[in-house]
Amino acid sequence: MTTPMTGLDALPLLMNLSHTQRAAVAGVSRIETYEPGTRLFEEGGLADQCWVVLSGCVMIDTVVPPRGRIVVQSIGPGELVGWSWLVPPYRWHFGATIVSPTRAAVVDTGALRALADEDPALGYQLSLILINALLNRLQATRMRLLDLYRNPS
Amino acid sequence: MDVVLDLGGLDALIRVLRDDGRVVVGPVLRDAAITLAELGSAADLPSGWGVETGPGHYRVREREDAAVFGHSAGPQSWKRFLHPPRKALISSDSTGFHPVEDTAPDYAFLGVRPCDLAAIAKLRQIVGGKAPFVVAAQCTEPGEVCFCASMGCGPAAGPGHDIALTERIDADGHRFLATSGTEEGAAVLARVPARAASPDDRALAAGDVEAATRRMGRAMPELDLRDLLAANRDSAHWEAVAERCLTCGNCTMVCPTCFCVSVEDTTDLDGNAERAQRWASCFEIDFSYLHGGAVRTSGAARYRQWMTHKLGTWHDQFGTSGCVGCGRCIAWCPAGIDITEEAAALAGGEQP
């Protein structure tokens, strides 16, 4: 059984945190496993946690009438799921589904924010981690927008 | 073997080559330029005609003497004969794909300047084909745009000539020191009326060529050009040249070593097809066409491609420089862009 600490220790995502800082994050997290098909959250719901995927796959989706529910992004091991907890109105902008057996560290983002308020150094490191993850996601999204594989004719 | 020919001897040389079944090509005055065409006799040569050249400038002028090789940097090079502007490659019909017979004649090139002699070797390394019989004409009067000496390609004829002529007109007459460069050249010379060359004849010719070496109007900067171009891929200078360069491609047409071709497909009404190559220029907007657009669209990128290839990446691709210092690109550029000045600008200094 993986404890939050052992789960988070191995993650490149958190490698710039000190051992103590990582322990603090572990302290506000728990490990969960999810079966395929589980809806993690729905668009419009209260965003008060985030997930770090340890193994498995999560799909972010939205509904596009009349096409139905379309996946806009898949998220795999080592990556972060959930951003809307960061900014008001703290409501999910998309939905998320588990598509393969998944183990994740679930972070209580309210408690995480309190930790960051108390310890600005930790807060700064967490911000850098979030910015880095967002940057990677933005760059990959821009690459998709380039539509590189389109047929030039 | 070396001998001295007079004008009659030169005429006889042309006749011997024609009798051997060769098409003799040499300089002629046509359309107010010294171009290259088939010679029937020495009377076809541009006797007494010289040229006045400069950046973006070429005019024929009447000389005070009757020299036949007293000119340079004409709009054509021997490339036209070794690598024709259009050449059929294959035909395709219901019976299959067929090569096209090479119907090029056996050429004798008469009056090949040392720069062009070097160019013939560089070009043939890529395009192959039958070797022409070459009668080189060593330079004793560099043209204003010439810089063969700094490219190591003149004014003395390098290897690859069958016969080398050095023209001289003085009180002792209008004559040519003729030196054989190959056995075939010697055999041809032996059939031409001539007198033996004396040590004075040889010394005068050598002196004339040596003097020409010291009278060059321009030179490339003295450094490794390949390294210079490789180091300047991102130089701001390319944008500066682009403000003047019309990307007209004249330089690539007159350059004796530019070899790029494009392939064209044609079909006739019976459904038979032919593939042919035609001269192409890296300045053409679609030259680098790929996936719906060209890779090099800006003038800066296209000029950079031409100059970098000519002076730099030719070495990487073919083991030799692409430039022989003939100066044609300078004379025939409507904007008067001078490749030696551009090289000097990249090197960061003023041209000496």
Partner: protein
Amino acid sequence: MTTWVPTPYQVVTRTVETHDSVTLALRPVAESLPRFLPGQFAMLYAHGVGEVPISVSGVPDDGTLVHTVRAVGAVSRALHDALPGTVIGVRGPFGTTWRLDGVEDLLVVAGGIGLAPLRPVLDHPSRRTVLVAGARTPQDLLYADELAKLSDVDVVLTVDRGDHDWHGRVGFVTEPLASIPLDPDRTTALLCGPEPMMRFCARTLLGRGVPAERIQVSLERNMQCGIGLCGHCQLGPLLVCRDGAVTGYPTAEPLLLAKEL
């Protein structure tokens, strides 16, 4: 073989892969060409239309030529539409091969039609083979059935745009590349796809500690002769028909980063 004259091959099978791509299997009409190796290409001639360079997408032992052709222009459209029995002119083999000697972990990264020149390496012996392939949409994924049946390759597929029926990954190909398990010092990475995709994937792999010398890319430029004569395929000092298409990343990187080269 430095000739302009094509060797006649006949289309024996035409397999539709996607809405704009087919795989043609060609057999010699009479004379056959030397063996093509993975990474190499042929100049394929469609009578009266023209010639284009197409990599082999399969190297069967019996000398059949296998090419996956995407219809992007007049010539590729003619080849794409060629039915069994059509005679196609073939010249080749040209170009460099994927360098596979001493391979331990083989990481194959493909974008779009770039999967075609990489398909022949998927069964190369290795300690472990991973394929990460990106496509525009699920309908554009090549060889979907065949990939599903591969037993000794870890196949990671992703699309730029999902749809209602797609339950696989959605994201650019660099995303799974950032997180798949990887032993950088024992990995040989082969990349093929649009230039920006190869640049970004190489950057991701370099960031994960894969040495540049262990990364190979497949470069592309306008090609009209395939035999170093026409000058069109120049990329800096390289003639892609002769010095490529497969190039080591240390050589390729400065060329890929230069603008309009």
